[in-house]
Amino acid sequence: MLKRINGEDDMTGAEIPIRDADFPLPFVSGLEYNAPARGPWNIVHTGMLVPESHQVFACAQGCLRGVILTAAEMLEMGRMSWISVDKNDFFDGSLERNIVDGTAEIIRKLPKKPRALLLFISCVHLFAGCDFDAILDELRAMFPDIDFIDCYMNPTMRKSGLTPDQLMRRQLYAPFQPCPADPKTVNLIGNDRPTDGSSELVQLIRNAGWELRDITLCKDYEDYMHMAKSSLEITYLPTAKASGDALEKRLGRKHLYLPLSYDFDEIGRNLNIMADALGTAAPDWSDAKQNAVRVLEQAKEVVGDTPVEIDYTATPRPVGLAALLAEHGFRVTRVYTDAMIEEERPAFERLRTLAPDLLLTATVHAKMRFAGKGVHEHGDVLAIGQKAAYFSGTKHFVNIVSGGGMYGFDGVARLAKRMVEAATHEQDTELVIQHKGLGCRSCL
């Protein structure tokens, strides 16, 4: 496709063999392209996890458009309202007043008062020094029976601290205040889909007689607020770690970050830490590990030498997953990621030895506009993740985001089974990956 523009097929700067790549930033930043893979959740999807809540976005028209239509596509417009910001608001002193009055008017018009209201401000409010605390104080005084949650759509600040995604996952639990803890209760924090019940993590919790609480399982606001009373906080996604840290600090609960991993030693260590926290003896993980290896080997028989390509939307550790698969004989040829998290460093080093020719490929680089839909003739590819599916042009892909709820040795086995399923069944890639928020309802 690039040939059509300038007669060259030059992906220099947009891809690099891992042996030559820098860690954690293999590519120079520049103009960014947006690939049409819409499965990863955004702040609207995540915010909708708070039961019986309503969202109000105070932003410029351009910013509102994306969040409103996110809600519309997931058939949740009844839980979404907006206040548009005009440039005059910044100069005539009405910035805060418009948000207070607008939010109050919206609440009064709602057919039913929400239990919680997620009020979002944006980059421009922060640049203009908007007094968000004053806004929230006034609204809380006006509506004492509603929990107001301060939320932020501030991508301009994404490199200045927590990203909007991390902030959203942290604010998801903002109404939780210090209270006596329920014994033997544990929260899984910051996930946007339930963790598989078959995972060793969930099995450990249940077998130890603990109650598992997870916002993805909450049916109403009471369920959700019960999570404030849990005695242990667990996170395993990097984007959720700040949530667990915040709860530990605010509620005085223990927080364990047990990162999603594809390294068998690390998986075992994490599960042992979990068992220890639950006050139960850690089982021998040999059988679970052997089962994962066995299923991986079975998958390899089916997948054969088909190139495997992985992207960062499928899992926060695409390099770690690539290393695992390469260690078990899969021909992993490409990982799509624009940057790597520090947790990936050991796998990165391992993979440089295991598969030095594996290509790291950017997803946002300007040249990637012309790399989509298999124009590089990757041939038959098994993709893990929607961006890998898009860029490779394959119809064979594992359709997951953020780890897909798979965790532990069981998670590895389940992922291997999903690879077999993907290798043996075609999907309509264009249709599937354009649905926003994988797992959410969609009007499309």
Binding site: N6, S29, Y33, A60, A72, D101, C123, V124
Partner: protein, 381 residues
């Protein structure tokens, strides 16, 4: 209170209008923004994104660069990408943060043009206006830059369509139907700005006898061509059965006399009695109102929630600035023809007829979008 909505959508913003209008012209469009503009545009406002390549990017603006005024990063990044990709031109536009930072896009564009040798221009978007403002300025800038030579008029009567984007016309065959209707009406098409159109087509636009403005985002360009080449323009969309003939006649008259005409606004909605309410972009909605009155004899009123010059509205048409105004106007109507995302504020006893408008509901109802060009209208009242 203005500026709020409990449940309805909001129109696509000016940045999307820029991208949509310039999409097919082989240029590079850079929105100076952190991330959201490109995602919103490419997901909700651009049905061509998956299958048709176009160099639409964001600059990935960061807080530090905005505060420190690091325009050099933008200039260097655009220059590097342009040297890789060789676009026909470069258009720069901004989101809200650059507005607050006072980013000087025309000057930055001039610097980029000096470094690359590629024509570049800066636009004045802010993410705080509708798509019409962005699309209008973008097209005017391209025509200003590239349509500079007065070519001999074509032998046969000929037309440029001005203002076509998927935001107003989706990708359901409507634009193709307009070009077919023009041919059937005895006109040759010189260019369709800017769907199914190349930059070379725009360069040749001065060869046409008359311009057909199909969205209010085309008015500024039509005025530019009138001033530059003496080309008259006619505003309207050939919807329904009888209005296309009215429009064709207006085009012929304009070509002969050099006078502009607005058949879409040649109505009177000020009389007593209930009317069918049609909210939307002024030229399309006005054309539809005229078509319904001609074909079905039902009095109509256009409700205009977007920027529109007064001359594009008829007496009795209403400007509606918020959800409450829409709801009040619907309550007084005999029926409503509107995008489905207006339905929640339409009283239950007022008939609501769905007409998806991509600039309002994005891709939500694309499957049920209607091609109304030169054919019987699908409603019976």
């Amino acid at each position: 209170m203005k500026q709020i909505a409990r449940i309805i959508s909001i129109h696509a913003a000016d940045t999307s209008g820029v991208c949509s209008m310039l999409y097919e012209l082989g240029g590079m469009v850079v929105v100076h923004d952190a991330s959201g503009c490109n995602s919103t545009y490419s997901t909700h406002d651009e049905p061509r994104w998956y299958r048709q390549d176009s160099m639409i990017y964001i600059s990935a603006l960061t807080e530090a660069d905005a505060i420190l005024g690091n325009d050099e990063k933008l200039i260097a990044d655009v220059t590097a990408a342009a040297k890789d990709l060789s676009p026909n031109f470069i258009a720069l536009c901004g989101a809200p943060v650059p507005l607050l930072a006072g980013t000087d896009f025309p000057t930055i564009a001039a610097e980029i043009e000096a470094r690359t040798g590629i024509p570049a221009f800066g636009l004045h978007t802010s993410g705080m206006h509708s798509y019409l403002a962005g699309a209008s300025e973008a097209l005017e800038a391209v025509v200003e830059r590239f349509c500079t030579e007065q070519l001999p008029r074509t032998d046969a009567p000929s037309v440029n369509i001005i203002g076509a984007t998927p935001l107003d016309f989706s990708v359901n065959g409507t634009v193709e139907s307009m070009t077919e209707w023009l041919k059937k009406s005895g006109f040759e098409l010189v260019s369709c700005m800017a769907m199914g159109c190349t930059l070379d087509d725009i360069r040749r636009a001065s060869a046409a006898h008359v311009n057909l403005v199909v969205s209010s985002c085309g008015i500024a360009t039509a005025e530019l061509l009138r001033e530059r080449f003496g080309m008259p323009w006619v505003a309207g969309v050939p919807v329904g059965e009888k209005f296309p003939a009215v429009l064709a006649t207006a085009l012929k008259t304009a070509a002969e006399t050099g006078g502009c005409a607005l058949p879409c606004a040649a109505r009177d909605a000020s009389g007593p009695g209930k009317r069918l309410a049609i909210p939307g972009e002024s030229i399309f909605s006005g054309s539809l109102a005229r078509a319904i009155e001609l074909d079905l004899g039902i009095p109509c009123r256009v409700l205009c929630p977007l920027e529109a010059e007064d001359r594009l509205l008829a007496p009795g048409d209403l400007r509606i600035f918020d959800e409450d105004a829409a709801a009040a106007a619907f309550a007084e109507a005999s029926g409503v023809i509107a995008d489905p995302m207006y339905a929640p504020v339409c009283p239950s006893d007022v008939p609501f007829h769905r007409l998806p408008h991509e600039a309002f509901s994005g891709r939500c109802y694309r499957k049920e979008s209607l091609n109304l060009i030169d054919r019987p209208l699908p409603w019976r009242f």
